[in-house]
Each structure stands twice: as C-alpha cells, then as structure tokens.
C-alpha cells in the first residue's frame, strides 16, 4: 500500500517543530503503524537523512510506551488499542496520515514524536500505592475479596499509563489516569487504610503538574487502549469529596 505521511519533526524541546511530508510506498497491509515507520526510517537512513524518533517497546499494547497522535486521534483510529496495535490495512490506499506526538503541556517534547511523561510517575509517587513491606504480608486468602469488587478493581488496574487520556482531553486532564489508580486501590480491602490520604495526594500532584480538570467530554474513554471507563472519574470525585469532608471534619 502507499501513503502520504505528514510527520511532526522537532529537534528538541526548545526548537520549533513542523510537519514534514514523506511518501510511504510499498507498505505491506499486515504491517503495524510502527513497522511502517520502521520501513520509512530505514529508507531515510539509507538516503542519509535522520530517521524519525518515536517511542515504542513491547509492541503488543501493554507497556504504554507508544505515544502517537494519528490523524488527530491519540493512538489513531482503531480503538481500543495502542498505536503499536494499529495495522496499515485499517487505512485506505493513498490516504494521508498525520502523525504527531501526544500534545499535552505537561508532556514536553523530547524529540520528534517522543514526549516526557514523567508527570504521570510523579502522580503515582504522591500516593498511588499500598504500604506493604515485604515480609509483613498476611496469608493471601485471609481477606476474601468479593469477585465483583476484584473484577472492577482489575478493570481500573488495567491502565497502561500511556497518557492518551490527557492527550485526547480538550483540558489536557489526566483524571482518567488518576481515577484508574485511585479506584483500583480503593475497591480492595487492602487499599482502605490509605484511601483518603492517597486520593488527596494524587489529585494535588495532578494539579501541580499542570493537568486540567474533567468537564465530561469522554474523549479519554474513547481513546483509552485499556478501555478504562470514564465512570471511574466519578468514583475519583466521590473518593476526593469523601476524603476532603473527612479531613475538614478533623478525621
């Protein structure tokens, strides 16, 4: 297949970037979008041009490393799935494909299509854990967890931390990401002791990183490769209100 690419090129964080045209010819339809970029890069290299920098690692949709906006959609048009799970057979012959990085102020561009998402790590560091020292854990079956709670918790825990939610959101909000972690842990009995502290810490960190707030546009849910439901944002809001009330009541 043949495609016209418009790819974002930017030397580094300080430089101005621009869309550059490339022809991607003779691309096997079974190739993934990233494999198509590999082919284009190999050809650029042999022509003496610098290949396009883009991030990827597992290439099976679980590590969350890829961070491409394709034709204006985070991870491209084939939802749910990360950009590495997008196959060229999903495009039309001769189609123009615009490839940009995730556009979020809190994800500064490192080079071309590669962004710095360390802000997400810092949100988790602000409370996205259960304090359980190795060696002090009780016997695993001593606390039964209702299957439905465990299942919903797992749905939230499936977040791959790619940041597409923030890239798709008109407010560049990372609330779906934060909500997924808060919900995953709040739904389990093990997560209860730190429940209030966790949600307040994580929401404060999210604000400090410059992410916006949720105004219910549901773009995040639409692009999420792990199909995290936006209803977890409602859960996050409830958790936050509950924690704030308890705190103001002096608990």
């Amino acid at each position: 297949m043949n495609f016209n690419l418009k790819v974002w090129r930017q030397k580094d964080r300080q430089s101005l970037g621009t869309l550059v045209d490339y022809a991607a010819l003779d691309i096997p339809p079974q190739a993934s979008l990233l494999e198509m970029l590999d082919i284009v890069n190999e050809r650029l290299l042999l022509k003496g041009e610098e290949p396009v920098a883009f991030d990827s690692d597992c290439r099976e949709g679980i590590c969350g490393t890829c961070s491409l906006t394709v034709n204006g959609e985070a991870h491209g048009p084939d939802h749910p799935g990360a950009a590495c799970e997008l196959y060229m057979r999903k495009f039309r012959e001769g189609q123009t494909i615009v490839i940009e990085p995730f556009r979020v102020k809190s994800f500064p561009i490192i080079k071309d299509l590669v962004v710095d998402r360390s802000a997400l790590d810092r949100i988790v560091q602000a409370g996205g854990f259960i304090s359980a020292r190795a060696g002090s854990a009780p016997e695993a079956n001593s606390v039964p967890v209702p299957k439905t709670d465990a299942d919903v918790s797992m749905e939230a825990a499936a977040c791959i931390g790619c940041g597409a939610c923030a890239a798709a959101c008109p407010n560049a909000s990372a609330m779906l990401f934060t909500a997924a972690k808060v919900s995953h842990l709040a739904l389990l009995p093990q997560g209860k002791p730190e429940r209030a502290k966790r949600v307040i810490g994580m929401v404060q960190a999210m604000d400090a990183e410059g992410f916006g707030n949720c105004t219910n546009t549901y773009e995040c849910e639409a692009v999420c490769p792990a199909e995290i439901s936006a209803s977890f944002i409602a859960k996050l809001n409830r958790e936050y209100s509950r924690a704030s009330l308890k705190r103001s009541a002096g608990e």
């Binding site: 691309i27 096997p28 190739a31 993934s32 494999e35 190999e42 290299l45 042999l46 041009e49 610098e50 290949p51 991030d55 690692d57 597992c58 290439r59 099976e60 949709g61 679980i62 590590c63 969350g64 490393t65 084939d78 799935g81 799970e85 196959y87 057979r89 490192i110 080079k111 590669v114 998402r117 360390s118 997400l120 790590d121 988790v124 560091q125 602000a126 854990f129 259960i130 359980a132 020292r133 190795a134 060696g135 854990a137 695993a140 079956n141 606390v143 039964p144 967890v145 209702p146 299957k147 465990a150 918790s153 797992m154 825990a157 499936a158 791959i160 931390g161 995953h184 389990l188 093990q190």
Partner: protein, 643 residues
C-alpha cells in the same frame, strides 16, 4: 583469577538449607544501612522489587532503566500467571512438588538448592502481591482462583486475566514509587548501563549513558545488582520488547563475570506466526490458552490448504494428546515447540509458509460456552484478532513457536552473587533456577522471589564486610571505563557505511534461528560460528549510525546493543556446540531417543557451563570453560517423560 566454581549451596537437608542459611547470614544494622549505596540496573519484577525492598530496609538505592518509566519494563508483557505452592485447590500440591516439577521441567540442569528455595518462598510472593493490591482473579466466595500451566498436574497458577505480568509489575512499581517519594530510591529512567567498574576485584560502580541527553556518567556504589532481563533479541524476532538487550550482562562478562549456559533459550510454543520481513516482533499467545485450546494439524498434507472447519474430526491429528497423553496440550514448552516444528517439517503445517499449527477452542466453547471462554481469555482473543484479522471464537488460532525467554545468564552462586564479589544478578539475567527449560508461570515467580525474598537476605552478607569501601567515582578505573565507553560510541558513529542496523540484526537473527534455534547440530553450529564473525566484520565496515552521541539518538542506542549481540551470538553457538547432549530446550539432533525426545548425557554433562571471556579484538579468543558439577541429593535423574 577464578578457582573452582563454588555454588556455596549450604549443607544440611534440602528443606532446611535456606532457613539455616538465613539464620547464619551476616546482617547490616538499621542505622548502618543508609551508609550503603546500592546500584540496581533494571526495574522489572526483579530489579523493581529489589529496589523497593532494599529502599524500605534503609539502604540508599540508585535504580536505572532504559525505559522512560520503571512501569514499562518488559515484565509487564507476561500474560498467563505466577506459580506458587499454596495448594489452595487441595489437589496435592506442595513445596516439594513445585520444586520437583521445576527441576524436572528444567531437564535436571538446575541446582537443587536454588530451586527448592524458589518453591519455598513462592507462597510469600502471593501474600506480598495481594497485600500490595494486585487484583488476582478470585472465585465467587472471594478466595483466590488458580489455573493450570504446562509441566504440572496441579492447578497452582495465580493470574490477573491475561495481564498477570502487568499487574505484578504495577504492584512492584507502586512499592518502588513509594520509596522514590520517601527518598530512599533515586530513579534514573532512560539511562543505560554501558560498563561495570571493577576495583580490587570487586564491582563498585557502573558507567551510564543518559539516553535523552547523551551524557555519560560514572556512578560509584557498594554493590552492583544487574536485573536486566534476557537476551532473546539476539534472534531479532522474539516476543521480547524492542529494547531488550544483552548489553549489561555481556559487558559484565567482558569484565570477568562468567556467562552460564548461554545456549539455553526457550522457544515458546504458542505465538502468532511470523508473516513477513518488515515484522519487528512476535506476539505471544499465553500458554494458559492450552488449558482449553486443543492443538492439531491435518493428518494429511493435502488438507493443509483447506479451511480448518471443513476438516472433519477423523482427519485431524491432535499430536500433543496423541504423543503425550498424560500432559497432552499442557506438555512443557520445549516439548510442545519441537512437536510443532516436527509436524511442520513433515509438511503438515498450516497458514502462510506452512509454519503454523491450530489451537482450537471449539470443544471448550461447546462445553463451557463462549462467555466463559471470553472471561478467561477475552483479551488474548482480541489481540489475536487485531494482529491477524481473524476471530478465534469461529476459526482456530494459528500458532507457531517463537523465542521467548533465556534460561542462560550470568553465573551466580546460591547468594545470587556472580564470581565477581559485589556483582549480583537477579531475575532472567541470571542462569540459576530454570535449568535447560523454564516452566510456564515461573519467570514471574523467580523475578519476585529474587527481589523480595532472596537478595534482601544475601546482599547484607556481602555488605557487612564492605563498610567504607565505596570508592570515589573519580578513581582511575572509572575514568578508564568511561573512556572505553566513549571510544566505543565514537567508533559506532564513525563507520558511516550504507547498511541499516536492522538489516544486519535480521541476518544474525535468521542465522541463529536456523542453526541455534529449536534444533541444533554440529554442522550447523560450526557453520554459524563461521558466519557470525563475517557478519560482525560487515557491521563494523558497513553499518550506518546517523546523528551524534550528544543527543537523543535511538539509532546509536540500538547500534551498541546490536554490536554486543553480534559478539554474544558466538558465545551462544560455542556453548551449544560444546554441550554435546540434548537437554530441555537444547536439542542436539545427534542426541535423541528413538521417539525423537531429548537424550541427556548425565555422565558428562550434568553440569553448568560457565564461560570466561578471554578477549575480543575483531576476532574472539575462545572463551575459557568452567564447569560447575550439579549434585542431585534428593531427586533421581530420569528420562523426562510426559507420556
């Protein structure tokens, strides 16, 4: 420099070794721990759990990973599950059985003491993960659920849908984040280790390159822990992530660490078949699918091009059930992979190129309903459909073996310390627990066992004698290592030829897959040993690495890794050639039973082969072989049978 290889396995009865070892190990008191700086390279299940645990204990930890976040380490891609001898199913499991299955699964090429310890701590891992909030699958009563994996006749595998590795890694990552916030662990993402620094015979630091800025740094520490995973990407196509590499362990090898059993590479039986030259990786379909899927090919070659649903039951060959009735579709990985290769070699393979076999769920769907199957494996079916465009609820999956895991790795003793004092190796990067073949759901177990429950007990024994010996990073040895790293980078940039990295790496991968893959023989290995140096020469003459070293340069990162694979591949083949027997995943065609099973030679090869680097100046000086004889005090060596 190296005397006899002493594995330092404690004496006493098997089930008392670890307890008594812990009872007598040296300790570092809480107020002294903060005086020690521990360098950990890698942040997957092994490195991440070690960093979190050592940080919590009060050591000062510096943890490095090449990914942009520790949460993206490749442990995340493990699908099926984690084994533990909890016996929650009341089906006869025990620590001894998990130990025995692992030793037998490894075809009697691992150390009894290490494997027993692994089985012993397996239950603690599940406790720990549940306490961290890992959302394992549960039954309606709220208790933990289990499933079966290959090589076992009990259900001892814990799982979180098809994303067990992800959930365990996120548990370990959250513990790591807590320590980062507490200031005990300093995290260095997008930073690659390029050399180990040895002072007075002890590992006391590393040289790193910041992948984002190109900055080279010297880092001194009291001990260095490598948790850098396996080397499956030597084959170019594997189920590993694109970034997985041998660089950290290979460069430690070049500094004197012994590399053990490098030819033991696991070929996983259930992967989506290879489809073309452009392909950048192979995708695994979890072994757990074999709980409900039945593997078959047509009995007759002529049927291979027919649609599978048109082939009646009587014309299908369920070859695993036929050949291994006791274990059937859940036969161990090495055996299942070879059986698939065999039927495809006979011309009975299906799909493009005839390199594929069916994994069929029709029976299970009839028995349990589509919904149950979707609950168990839904996400795997989705992945399969994404990649192939086929609906596996309606037509059988097509699968074929692919490189997946490497049992070989740096040699370590019972304390997980290499032959270089102060250099510890954990997780897939070491060689210790899986022998010649790893059983499914045991990699996650080993990574977490090493990081949470073994290293925190064995590292202090080394540190206790090392107070105040951490060197300054300005020492001459650091400067030398830095200069070497810089020279190597410059050399890569200077070649400026006309070949892409991928083209040479692909060529190496094809060669290894053909000559040192699922089946090996003397002629093929010798041929590979003739070709690898030529390929290496071609690389250094014709590769093109654009850009410079002072920048974010992905080509340069990969070039360094491919250069190491091009040397390491030779070591794999030398090891495969020297091990003149078949065992587990190492199948030498010259050594097989009349039924075509691996034929071990216990008299001559019940040993670990640990290789010592002797130099490489364009051509590699043959490495020196050290043998660690394996002593079996408890198990009786038998011909492995899954019939």
């Amino acid at each position: 420099m190296i005397g006899t290889l002493d594995p330092k396995v404690p004496g006493g009865p098997l089930d008392r070794k670890w307890t008594s070892h812990k009872d007598h190990a040296r300790l570092v008191s809480p107020n002294n721990r903060r005086k020690f700086e521990i360098i950990i390279v890698g942040s997957g299940l092994a490195g991440g759990s070690a960093a979190a645990t050592l940080g919590e204990l009060g050591y000062r930890v510096k943890c490095f990973c090449y990914q942009d976040s520790p949460r993206r380490a490749h442990s995340i891609a493990a699908q099926g599950g984690i084994n533990a001898a909890k016996n929650y199913q009341n089906d006869g499991d025990s620590v001894y059985r998990l130990f025995y299955d692992t030793i037998k699964g490894g075809d009697f090429r691992s150390r009894e003491g290490n494997v027993y310890r692994l089985a012993e701590v397996s239950g603690n891992i599940i406790d720990q993960c549940v306490a961290q909030g890992v959302p394992f699958a549960r039954e309606y009563g709220g208790l933990l659920a289990n499933r079966s994996f290959g090589g076992a006749q009990v259900s001892r595998t814990f799982y979180a849908r098809g994303q067990t590795g992800q959930q365990l890694l996120l548990g370990c990552y959250s513990a790591l984040c807590r320590q980062i916030a507490a200031g005990t662990v300093q995290m260095f993402p997008q930073t690659e280790m390029l050399d180990v620094v040895i002072l007075d015979g002890h590992a006391k630091g590393i040289v790193t390159r910041n992948l984002r800025t190109g900055q080279i740094d010297k880092v001194a520490g009291d001990a260095v822990i490598l948790a850098t995973g396996g080397y499956g990407n030597a084959f170019y196509l594997s189920t590993n992530a694109r970034g997985c590499n041998v660089t950290a362990t290979y460069r430690a090898y070049k500094k004197g660490a012994l590399f053990a059993n490098p030819c033991f590479t696991q070929i996983h039986p259930t992967c989506i078949p290879h489809s073309g030259d452009y392909q950048s990786k192979l995708t695994l379909m979890s072994e757990s699918l074999r709980n409900d899927g039945r593997v078959w090919v047509p009995k007759r070659k002529e049927d291979c091009t027919k649609s599978p649903n048109e082939i009646p039951e009587r014309d299908r060959d369920y070859y695993l059930e036929r050949k291994y009735p006791a274990f059937g579709n859940l036969s161990p990985r090495d055996i299942s992979s070879r059986a698939a290769k065999e039927v495809c070699d006979e011309g009975r393979g299906v799909g493009p190129g005839g390199r594929g076999v069916y994994l069929d769920f029709a029976d299970a769907i009839r028995r349990l309903g589509e919904q149950t199957i979707a609950e168990r494996y839904g996400n795997l079916f989705e992945v399969y459909e994404k990649i192939t465009g086929e609906n596996a609820y309606k037509v059988p999956m097509r699968i074929y073996p692919a490189v997946h895991y490497t049992m070989g790795g740096l040699w370590v003793d019972y304390n997980l310390m290499s032959n270089i004092p102060g250099l510890f190796v954990i997780g897939e990067a070491n060689f210790s627990d899986h022998g010649a073949n790893r059983l499914g759901a045991s990699a996650l177990m080993q990574g977490l066992a090493d990081g949470y429950f073994v290293l925190p007990y064995t590292l202090p024994s080394y540190l206790a004698g090392q107070g105040g010996r951490r060197p300054s990073a300005d020492a001459a040895e650091f400067k030398d290592a830095e200069n070497n790293v810089r020279a190597k980078i410059q050399k890569l940039l200077n070649v400026n030829g006309n070949l892409s990295l991928d083209s040479i790496h692909r060529e190496l991968g094809t060669l290894l897959w053909d000559k040192c893959g699922m089946a090996r023989n003397k002629v093929g290995l010798e041929e590979a040993l003739g070709k690898i140096p030529q390929l290496r020469e071609k690389f250094w003459r014709e590769v093109r690495v654009p850009g410079d070293g002072e920048d974010f340069n992905q080509s340069l990162e990969r070039a360094g890794r491919v250069a190491d694979f091009l040397e390491f591949a030779e070591l794999m083949c030398i090891d495969a050639l020297t091990r003149d027997e078949s065992c587990g995943a190492h199948f030498r065609e010259e050594h097989q039973t009349p039924e075509g099973e691996a034929l071990r030679d216990d008299d001559n090869f019940a040993a670990v082969f640990a290789w010592e680097f002797q130099g490489c100046n364009g051509t590699i000086t043959p490495p020196k072989l050290h043998r660690e004889p394996l002593h079996f005090e408890t198990v009786h060596l038998t011909q492995r049978s899954y019939k």
